[in-house]
Symmetry: C2
Subunit: 361 residues, 2 copies
Amino acid sequence: MSRVYNFSAGPAVLPESVLKEAAAEMLEYKGTGMSVMEMSHRSKAYEEIIKTAEQDLRDLMNIPDNYKVLFLQGGASQQFAMIPMNLMKNKVADYIVTGQWAKKAYEEGKIYGKANCIASSADKTFSYIPDCSDLPISEDADYVYICENNTIYGTKFKTLPNTKGKTLVSDVSSCFLSEPVDVSKYGIIYGGVQKNIGPAGVVIVIIREDLITEDTLSGTPTMLKYKIHADNESLYNTPPAYGIYICGKVFKWLKEMGGLEKMKEHNEKKAAILYDFLDQSKMFKGTVVKEDRSLMNVPFVTGSDELDAKFIKEAKAAGFENLKGHRSVGGMRASIYNAMPIEGVKALVEFMGKFEAENSK
Amino acid sequence: MSRVYNFSAGPAVLPESVLKEAAAEMLEYKGTGMSVMEMSHRSKAYEEIIKTAEQDLRDLMNIPDNYKVLFLQGGASQQFAMIPMNLMKNKVADYIVTGQWAKKAYEEGKIYGKANCIASSADKTFSYIPDCSDLPISEDADYVYICENNTIYGTKFKTLPNTKGKTLVSDVSSCFLSEPVDVSKYGIIYGGVQKNIGPAGVVIVIIREDLITEDTLSGTPTMLKYKIHADNESLYNTPPAYGIYICGKVFKWLKEMGGLEKMKEHNEKKAAILYDFLDQSKMFKGTVVKEDRSLMNVPFVTGSDELDAKFIKEAKAAGFENLKGHRSVGGMRASIYNAMPIEGVKALVEFMGKFEAENSK
Ligand SMILES: Cc1ncc(COP(=O)(O)O)c(C=O)c1O
Ligand SMILES: Cc1ncc(COP(=O)(O)O)c(C=O)c1O
Ligand SMILES: [Mg+2]
Ligand SMILES: [Mg+2]
Ligand SMILES: [Mg+2]
Ligand SMILES: [Mg+2]
């Protein structure tokens, strides 16, 4: 058995070099005589791991000093509640609904106050990003919420919405570290790590300091207060320590790869190979309007359910895993995150070409 | 460098055979061509991992069919809120405060209703377990809460409290799977896995089905509802998948070791070696009343801060790690969880004897 090309939308492919290092260090991490899994989170060795991870992330994303970096648990889904519980001072927030994850966040927001859907692309199965240049932002909105890359539908905000001065909160779970971002444009930028960064069980929250206050909604659990985690540098309680260690290795790998500018180039090149193929193919087509296409998640269809199923089956047999579209959408989806090598995309396109030739009359 | 004897209170020592397997499978798990870290949580391969882990835990603990097993995030600390949010129908709960973790749970309970401290051992620095045979249980208490093994202070409930028919909720973070328990005596039995079972980032909640209801406190986040996780078999959102996989390996290891009866014998033997030494030593002494001593966490002191510090330093140099007591207590603490080999305890006692001889006049 050897490694397959894994197009999973998350948990997803990780850099092979990172996995090799983790395997080599499993029984004894550096001079410590123990695995990172066995290490007290209050030890010097672990402190160095988490501090280095944070610093490398700060370097990669160029995070301004007035932002905290938090390594938390509960996944992106728990942020859907944590955000309103901490930020809804006026109990009003505006949501832009561009897919299932934005919708879930929006529904959760309603538990805590007046959550408004100020734009949506539900009318066309979330196959585009609405024009967000002049939206009816609420006078007293505590924040404007977006899901910046829509994992299921394969769309991406190429321009951030005009929030008319309101705090922007963005879920970047499926585009984290795939290209440079200007952190200063956000109040909160967060994501589960299990797509582009590491193993499931860690969510990274980058939050502007003025948004971290004691003044949370009444009934907010201690563990759901940003301030508790910020004041304790993500060590209020036992953190998901091993996951953070793997994230740290991926940050080092990204630095070695040349940083986020280089990753962007690399990701654009990879995505172009697949989109160019889809655009010339008579059998396969992408489902997203061109200008909103994600670099990370590429959904496509043949137009025939049987042909889709046949393709997925044969692709799997040929070593291309997890090409099935999300259960809510059908068709195919190739997630081509940072760690997917360009060879994987080239091989996929070659396979698709062969499949098309064999299955056309 | 070789592996040290790691007496950390958590995250803590894991079975070496488990770590070796994890290292060997890091790049390719069985026939899948990928790491478990890279695996979709909706894949057949992962479904088998999580289902097998659950079944093995059910076998080990003899969990009745009317209990659900949930693999969650947020650590034990998040349960401090999740328990009242889900169980406080009358908004009343009774807490037995036997240490810092019980106290934290009690304080968190106050956010959600009337939390009563019905017994405490704070008067003697939590060095004993109060008599719980006839406590003033509240008429309308939704549950009675205990921390069954007190990690910091080294005490353990040898008899469960008489709850007078009320639901018992127990934090077993630091004694999970260390000996057989009668699950049917509990409403909820839960713990973070990072002491006796696996890497930090997974909390296991074993909960009687009738306690899983839609009727949670208003404002309860979706992610903090037991029902959501129970209905979705711990796959409502992306679980801490790799951590669960390691827990599953530890369950297999426990089965190979002969199950919980055998672990209890083994743990009693290990603890006796250390306690017997402490009892005969003129320099070292245990801090807990004999009848309430934990099999897992053994705090001890010399009576002199300087001598304590010297001991910890020399022990570290000799390959005994993490013997420093909790920052809130001082002195020493040896955590001797399931995975600590008996050789480790013997070696420690030998070292303590040598230290005593060298440092006595
Ligand atoms: C964009 C986005 N947000 C949120 C989530 C939910 O993440 P989690 O499973 O960590 O709660 C996902 C999961 O796929 C996602 O793709
Ligand atoms: C008995 C007990 N309960 C709860 C906790 C808190 O666990 P966590 O750090 O997973 O929140 C600990 C941590 O050491 C503990 O020992
Ligand atoms: Mg989506
Ligand atoms: Mg086409
Ligand atoms: Mg304690
Ligand atoms: Mg003595």
